[in-house]
């Protein structure tokens, strides 16, 4: 006989309330996670979309790509198939009166980034919506250099700005930098004189990215923690209320284990339903929210968070259930309730 479900059926409101709260908290977590992920993509798509690998900076750069200068010889010997070097600089281009803030990329030939010829530029497709089209000529205000737009690339962003891919010569004259900053290798872990970072390490070495993501993930984990505590408190209060009944059940010979199962079944039912609904709502939000809103919630993240909620709910309820073990049948009988 499933006593857990019978109790839920009899006390619907009580369980609906906790279910609703878990739904809201998990929904908030999903939305926030979608936002964090969306912002991260909006911020750093160009790096995020590179395959996993090793990012090398010079040792004296102390983990900051802006201070890294790879010498020519290293780049020559290390680059090749699947290994390449690139540089990024923030800057802008103008078209008549309009200014466009862009992240300029320059890379060696094996890289997945576009490599236009001299006098040309390839832009992130978001610039299209701001009135730039293929064939337009953009001016670099500091040097007066003119670049013709030869194409657009999808989802190429760095530091919340659309990327602009240019030729080595233009890059050097615009920013007066001859050397590459970052060396990417697929498998090479150790290169002498260089410090190696994984992709996520490299991403979090970029200060603005780090700050943004840390704040969001802190809120996220707080929400998860709160939901766990909520479960603990809810089941604690229910268990306190049911102390007498548990005592009687123990007296007539019900196993303590069975009382725990009851609680776990209830917790799992509530959480699964609530998280299923909020997960669906989170996915729907991805469809409904306007394109400009940086929101991206992959199914895998949804599932991972759902599992986290189940685990946290389990821990929370079990923790509060520990007192069930201490209940003495006798006390319940002497309390004389029911």
């Amino acid at each position: 006989m499933n006593m857990a479900l019978k109790e839920m059926k009899k006390n619907k409101t009580r369980f609906l309330i906790i279910g609703a709260v878990v739904f809201l908290i998990s929904l908030l977590t999903f939305l926030l996670s979608g936002l964090a992920n969306g912002l991260s993509e909006d911020n750093m798509a160009s790096i995020r979309n590179l395959p996993e690998g090793n990012f090398h900076l010079t040792e004296d750069a102390e983990g900051s790509y802006t201070r890294s200068n790879l010498d020519e010889a290293t780049v020559q010997s290390a680059t090749g198939q699947n290994n390449y070097a690139f540089s990024v600089q923030m800057g802008g281009l103008e078209k008549s009166e309009r200014k466009y803030s862009l992240a300029f990329f320059n890379s060696t030939s094996a890289s997945p980034f576009p490599q236009p010829d001299k006098g040309e530029v390839v832009l992130d497709s978001s610039v299209k919506e701001e009135g730039v089209s293929v064939g337009d000529t953009l001016t670099h205000p500091q040097t007066g250099e003119e670049l013709e737009v030869t194409g657009f690339a999808d989802n190429e962003r760095f530091s919340h700005s659309p990327a602009a891919f240019v030729n080595q010569e233009e890059f050097s004259s615009m920013f007066r930098i001859e050397d590459f900053q970052v060396l990417y290798t697929e498998n090479e872990k150790d290169i002498s004189g260089l410090e190696t970072f994984s992709k996520s390490e490299f991403l979090s070495s970029i200060p603005s990215y780090q700050a943004e993501q840390m704040t969001l993930s802190m809120i996220l984990w707080f929400l998860v923690l709160i939901s766990g505590m909520l479960f603990a408190i809810f089941f604690y209060m229910m268990n306190v209320q049911k102390t007498g009944m548990f005592g009687i059940l123990k007296a007539i010979g019900v196993r303590t284990r069975r009382l725990f199962y009851m609680m776990w079944v209830q917790m799992l039912t509530i959480t699964s339903l609530a998280v299923l609904l909020s997960g669906l709502a989170g996915q729907t939000a991805g469809v409904l929210l306007p394109e400009a809103m940086p929101y991206d919630l992959p199914i895998s993240t949804t599932l991972a968070l759902a599992v986290v909620f189940l685990v946290v709910g389990f821990i929370g309820s079990t923790f509060s259930g520990l007192r069930i073990r201490q209940i003495k049948p006798l006390e319940a009988i002497q309390q004389g309730e029911g």
């Binding site: 006989m1 006593m3 019978k6 109790e7 059926k9 009899k10 006390n11 007498g244 009944m245 009687i248 059940l249 123990k250 007296a251 007539i252 010979g253 019900v254 196993r255 003495k328 049948p329 006798l330 319940a332 009988i333 002497q334 004389g336 309730e337 029911g338």
Partner: protein, 221 residues
């Protein structure tokens, strides 16, 4: 014939530094098909004796012999099994599970005792206690007498060998009390249970086969 024996049961409670001996060497036997009534002044130790016999609290000294075992030495899990399979309980309040219907209370008890789900048995016992028409009712909608009758049905559905009843009629008026006692007597005879009944009320003693009087932690002979 199987019987239930309490031998030289002593119980001491510690209240801080003060030790109080509540049971001072009690000997008592219960016999199948008999109601043994335990009476005595309030505080004389009746409930303490009953709960020790029922394996709900430990004895300080003495032996509880049942089916060749001394329950005083049996581990908690084994004791739980004995309570589930061999004992039945009725208390002053009915202590029904609030979210189970009357018949579900009985099915649960059968399950706890590791017995099959006997529809017919449940139907028979519910008609015996006069609750056939209330079998789908939840405890909150039952009257006090109905609750207590449901509790009696629950306490015997799994055919226990020993029934422990601590003042089962205390919360009922005299007419309802008579009904409940009549039921207890019938069940005890019919099912050959050894019933230990604690009661205050002298009117109830007429249903007992044997009356034992307790005073100050001892049984008066």
């Amino acid at each position: 014939m199987e019987t239930f024996h309490l031998k030289n049961i002593r119980k001491t409670f510690k209240n801080g530094e003060v030790e109080e001996e509540v049971l001072k060497g009690v000997n008592l036997s219960l016999r199948p098909g008999e109601i043994t009534a335990l009476t005595g002044a309030s505080g004389s130790g009746k409930s303490t004796l009953l709960t020790i016999a029922a394996g709900l609290q430990e004895t300080s000294e003495g032996e509880i012999s049942f089916k060749g075992k001394n329950l005083a030495d049996v581990k908690e899990e084994k004791l739980r099994k004995v309570r589930a399979e061999e004992f039945g309980f009725i208390f002053q309040s009915s202590h029904l599970v609030p979210f189970l219907t009357v018949e579900e209370q009985l099915f649960m008890m059968l399950e706890v005792a590791g017995k099959k789900k006997e529809e017919e048995e449940v139907t028979a016992i519910l008609s015996k206690v006069g609750l056939s028409h209330r079998r789908k009712a939840y405890p909150s909608s039952l009257s006090g007498g109905e609750k207590q009758r449901a509790a009696i049905a629950r306490s015997v559905i799994h055919r226990p060998s020993v029934l422990f009843a601590d003042e089962p009629t205390a919360s009922l008026d005299s007419k309802k009390s008579e009904e409940v006692m009549q039921l207890l007597e019938d069940m005890t005879k019919e099912r050959g249970m050894a019933t230990l009944l604690v009661t205050h009320e002298t009117e109830m003693l007429s249903y007992a086969d044997r009356v034992v009087h307790m005073e100050d932690g001892k049984i008066l002979v």
